[in-house]
Symmetry: C2
Subunit: 404 residues, 2 copies
């Protein structure tokens, strides 16, 4: 029987529920005596290379539960995208510390890291079981119905756009919400859940799955504004024109890139400001406002979806069961059964690692600037219980009496 240490780490952008997965794995791992000790690596795989480990075996259950309910990565995270040499350093550290299990909670880049480490261990015939645990607010993981972290971020976006739409309804004008999502529009699309009745915003939704046409964008805003006297827009930070380069990158004078070669799109209001400026100058509309949701949508404390919390916990637990009882390395995936139950399955790491899922055509309205009822049917069960619903006054008009 395999025995030794279990090493767990968290990579990539944090989510509101990524600690549920950590705690699910840690509590499950404690049930297996062959796991001698549970090590957490600080700041993702960087902490493995640097031997920056924290002993998770000593954590109390009560504190672990409190950490599970805390958003963002409790172990710290990293934007490092390991190449083969980096992965060999990861493997060397795992070996030196007597690790027999390696769990990495992250997105498609993290899955790819697990794949390389897994291959290194196999090449050296070292007895290591490596499992990738999914998370990402972008919901762009292949083989998954959805990814833990997305439902809570989607709920935040829906609640934020609902509030902004009600605000815009009371003080009419144009409002543009810029939502995270580099290649996949799921999170921007989730703004559609803000609608309760006809006339509620968002009235227009722009996704990176479709080429952004500024003339069409302006004309669609004008049309909505003519009809309702106001217009609320949700727009992905990854929108791009025909050459595929995001507008926000063209905007950035000095494009800042991370280790993945990704240019920074968040943490700046430039895209929203640019588009609001165009709406004002080209359409001559007044009271044009934009908000860039930025980091709030990723780690906002206190409005996680209960469905997301439960599933994030379960993928952590499931990963440990697979690590102990399974015969292969792999990536934990979420499958949907009906609408709505789920099940988990382990798939080959290469099927998830480094790949990106985008919105399927049936989720995007044919005219490109809205979602379909099929998308809302997909999204609703993920948002969990007690999603706010807006209500409007129904009272009838009073006749005028003054002669003017």
């Amino acid at each position: 029987m395999r025995s030794g240490k279990l090493v767990i780490a968290q990579g990539g952008g944090p989510t509101a529920v990524i600690n549920q997965s950590l705690v699910g794995a840690v509590l499950e791992a404690r049930l297996f005596p062959q796991i001698e000790r549970i090590y957490g690596a600080r700041y993702g795989v960087r902490g493995i290379v640097d031997e920056d480990f924290v002993d998770l075996s000593v954590e109390s259950r009560a504190n672990l539960e409190a950490v599970a309910a805390t958003s963002s990565s409790a172990l710290g995270s990293t934007r490092d995208k390991p190449d083969l040499a980096y992965c060999r350093n990861i493997f060397a550290s795992l070996k030196a510390h007597g690790a027999s299990w390696f769990l990495y909670i992250g997105g498609n880049d993290s899955a790819d890291t697990v794949r390389i480490v897994s291959e290194e261990a196999a090449r050296e015939s070292y007895d290591l079981r490596s499992i990738h645990i999914p998370k990402t607010i972008d919901n762009d993981l292949m083989e998954n119905d959805h990814a833990p972290g997305f439902p809570s971020a989607a709920r935040f976006v829906a609640q934020a756009v609902m509030g902004a739409d009600l605000d815009n309804r009371s003080l009419p004008g144009v409002y543009v919400a810029v939502v995270m999502g580099r290649h996949s529009g799921f999170l921007t699309a989730a703004s559609a859940a803000a609608r309760t009745v006809e006339g509620d915003g968002p009235h227009l939704i722009y996704l990176p799955e479709r080429t952004f046409d500024k003339a069409k964008f302006l004309s669609e805003i004008q049309t909505v504004h003519d009809r309702l006297g106001r217009c609320v827009v949700a727009l992905s930070e990854g929108i791009h024109d025909t050459d595929g380069t995001p507008l926000s990158i063209k905007l950035a004078k000095t494009a800042e890139t991370d280790a993945h070669g990704n240019v920074q799109l968040s943490g700046t209001g430039a895209l929203g400001d640019l588009l609001c400026g165009e709406i004002k100058s080209k359409l001559g509309l007044k009271r044009v406002r934009g908000d860039t949701f930025g980091y709030l949508q990723r780690s906002f404390a206190g409005c996680a979806s209960d469905v997301d919390r439960r599933e994030a916990r379960e993928v952590g637990e499931f990963a440990v069961k697979q690590a102990i009882w399974g015969a292969v390395d792999g990536s934990v995936t979420i499958r949907r059964i009906g609408n709505y139950a789920i099940d988990y399955a382990l798939v080959e790491l290469a099927k998830v690692g480094g790949k990106t899922k985008v919105m399927p055509d049936e989720f995007i309205a044919p005219w490109g600037s809205d979602v379909t009822p099929a998308f809302l049917e997909y999204l609703r069960p993920l948002l969990g219980r007690d999603v706010p619903q807006s209500a409007h006054l129904r009272g009838g008009d009073i006749a005028k009496v003054l002669k003017r």
Copy 2:
């Protein structure tokens, strides 16, 4: 006995609980048979002038309760700041519709409108009882311990900064949150409630009550970054240097002003982007990010403070009781009893109208870039139940084994 119509309107920026006040007033007004009918004016006092009234008497109790739980002004709002001529038109419409009571939910500008209308009615010896009902996320109303709407916005800011701080803890760098507040720093100061333990952000707080010194700002960020390897800043959109002009206004190439002569500070990320650029270029720090909380903090659906909901309901109820039983016009105010109960009192309209309350010195740290424990003691009871608390791992370090 006075009898006739009661006219109610909502003015200024919406809040998460302003409909609680509307519904509190409407339900209370139904208990008094001398109130023949309850008219809601659409889009604030503009709707009174335009005779754009909705009959609130016909609303079901269930729908009113659903509206009360919905953020932003259900009747619509206005940025109009009425002068004497405008107020005479308000009064003419009230008279034409047989109004004997006029209730206006709003901030200090709305209180001033009520004062002018009240004076016009007195001048004409028209039997009108006019009451101002307080609301504002800025918390800048004189005579009030705090204003309805502020606690919910404060809670949003605290939860947002808590999430952003946890995010920054996992992926260290500098993070700047730009919070609403033109002259009063209460909302920015509320970010301090995000802290649970030593080392939690926000590490620096900049308020419009103190002159903003960019050199001091940069040096304080450097000091925090040297100590913690990261720095989270909360900063008011109203920060200004010695000449008193907000930085954001100096930034705006074409300053857009509203009817109050206020320049638009929200709905643009320019201030955050400017300061992040300075931090990068002057301090040479990497991973500098900024978010402008914008409209989210005002009307976010689903995280209102239960204390705020209750009090906003009560000021609406109290206003009707005063309107029926009281002998004078006035503004409803909130008084604190101990820590924490409250009571309500009617004060002269001129004591609230057109005046602005700012943070008292005892709430601001002597060095200017933090709040005091006295402020947190003031703030905590307002945030209500179940405010999220963050938890961190405690586990000890594992010794390194690799020789590098």
